[in-house]
Amino acid sequence: MQTLYDKLWQSHVVHQESDKPDGMALVYIDRHLVHEVTSPQAFEGLKLAGRAPWRRDSILAVADHNVPTTGRSHGISDPVSRLQVETLDQNCEELDITEFKMNDLRQGIVHVIGPEQGATLPGMTVVCGDSHTSTHGAFACLAFGIGTSEVEHVLATQCLLIKKAKSMQVVVEGELGHGITAKDIALAIIGKIGTAGGTGYAIEFAGGTIRALSMEGRMTLCNMAIEAGARAGMIAVDNITIEYIKGRPFAPRGDQWENAVAYWRTLKSDPDAIFDRVVILDAAQIKPQVTWGTSPEMVTTVDGKVPDPSQITDVVKRHDMEHALEYMGLVPNMPITDICPDKIFIGSCTNSRIEDLRAAADVLKGKHIAANIKLALVVPGSGLVKHQAEQEGLDKIFREAGFEWREPGCSMCLAMNDDRLSSGERCASTSNRNFEGRQGPGGRTHLVSPAMAAAAAVAGHFVDVREIY
């Protein structure tokens, strides 16, 4: 009677000091993904202490947060960003760590390239100095974000000292409506349980709707587990998982493949496993989601309205809502479809995979962005996604629709490079966070699915994607 989380946990405990089940355990880490922003201080600490990485072959590094999405052949113009990326290059060279450099075709957002390379495999523990590491849980991994001290700890010991989380099962059953995607499921879940609803839990997504999702959709969903407060999100292995992994560069081959698959098939919760909390959603009820505020839980449906703080009795909540509406420049009771974005961003580790680009291109085919849209960007999740999209002619559809077709990276998801919102600008974004200033100081973010972002680009305001295609 074990949950998937129990199985993943148990198969990685190296040592547990106390007998108490809630005590700290030393847990072994199989895959360590590294990027330029949260690693320099960890590598420095390691060197200062005269230590070496415990297992180099567990590490895969890539620069993604700071890299420019245009003019790469000239290098990085911002000297501070450049130094950070060069520091990663240097550390990887010195320590003989595999890194996909900026101009490598395999470069991309760390959470896109792990699965794409088959470096993320079922049953693994996967960590990265990045909260969206939860993405990899789509492969029945125990995957979670860590801070820089922990990055150093994993480098030095291949282990982490952690506490077991509680378990939550989010069950989604039923058929999704036309035009409804994993992003809408994710936002609907967050709208239901809140951004702190999953705090202290590891979430397993289950049910017929989840099993029907592609790996891309499952990654989108697990990616957003952290926005529901859960450090880890995960989904059981099935044929879809196995098919996706087959033949990828880091995936096992030959005899090992058969053995691996046999083991991977055990990576699911036992039918009678008990979860600490169960949340159930009806897929048929999920409509296209749009956030209106400065936290992912401040979300409603496209046919909804901006909420009215005067209707809220909880003082702290009301205060937060007023604050958010002021920041977002919205008035209570305004229909969501009256909101007009200035910029469109299709990208980020949530929605920059091939399927996301296809969904957006489907909406854009033969259409053009509205006159009020100042900039519409597509930033593929990796060089390989970009290449694939070009093979399929998607770049052409985007370009003809008035979108810019960029080089892979985090880009305007967090605006560490030059891609950002100016103060007061509004963005329909396929990313994961609508925090104040996230996409640029004073910038206003509305989180939506790729199809919804594309639809808003064409209409010049939010629009129900189900009505236009």
């Binding site: 190296v14 700290m24 950070q84 001290s149 030095a156 010991t157 952690i162 104040e436």
Partner: protein
Amino acid sequence: MEKFYSCKGLVAPLDRANVDTDAIIPKQFLKSIKRSGFGPNLFDEWRYLDHGEPGMDSAQRKLNPEFILNLPRYRGAQILLARANFGCGSSREHAPWALQDYGFRVIIAPSFADIFFNNCFKIGLLPIVLDANNVDRLFREVLATEGYRLVVNLEEQSVTTPSGESFFFDIDPFRKHSLLNGLDEIGLTLQHADRIKAFEARHRAAQPWLFT
């Protein structure tokens, strides 16, 4: 990690729920490859009237007179009183670094985001969870009383108000021990090197494809 000593500290109230790590330390400052110097940019977008970029002299920048930490009465605060889900968002340890560099040693809130909470312990910053009603009361008292200080005693796991009332807080025994002694966690883990190697050998035998 720095040792945590008990303290009697001035309290600053930050009356907002869901304060995220982008608000605590905006991304442009994450380009630094150092661990220190983030204090001047703590809450940068709320604290200053202009837009901050790395390399600016923060002493020359115009402060937002309305932001709570800029009020003279909260200058030198060591304890931050906050609302629910403090530190949500990214895993950036730069957030606790910035809070510590600014001078905070303790954060009190009804709840914290998991990764942030965990990161605090790694650097010797103490996050304390008190129940929402008590946090509410502390907010009222801090706002009503200039120079309001709390005594935080980690040994006894207590927070004591000026009127002598004490609240008990929970903390994992291992974390408490590490904080009190300023332990090097990596060093501690490496004491288990043989166990790790033994585990690794078993793990490799069972799932050889993980080791290629």
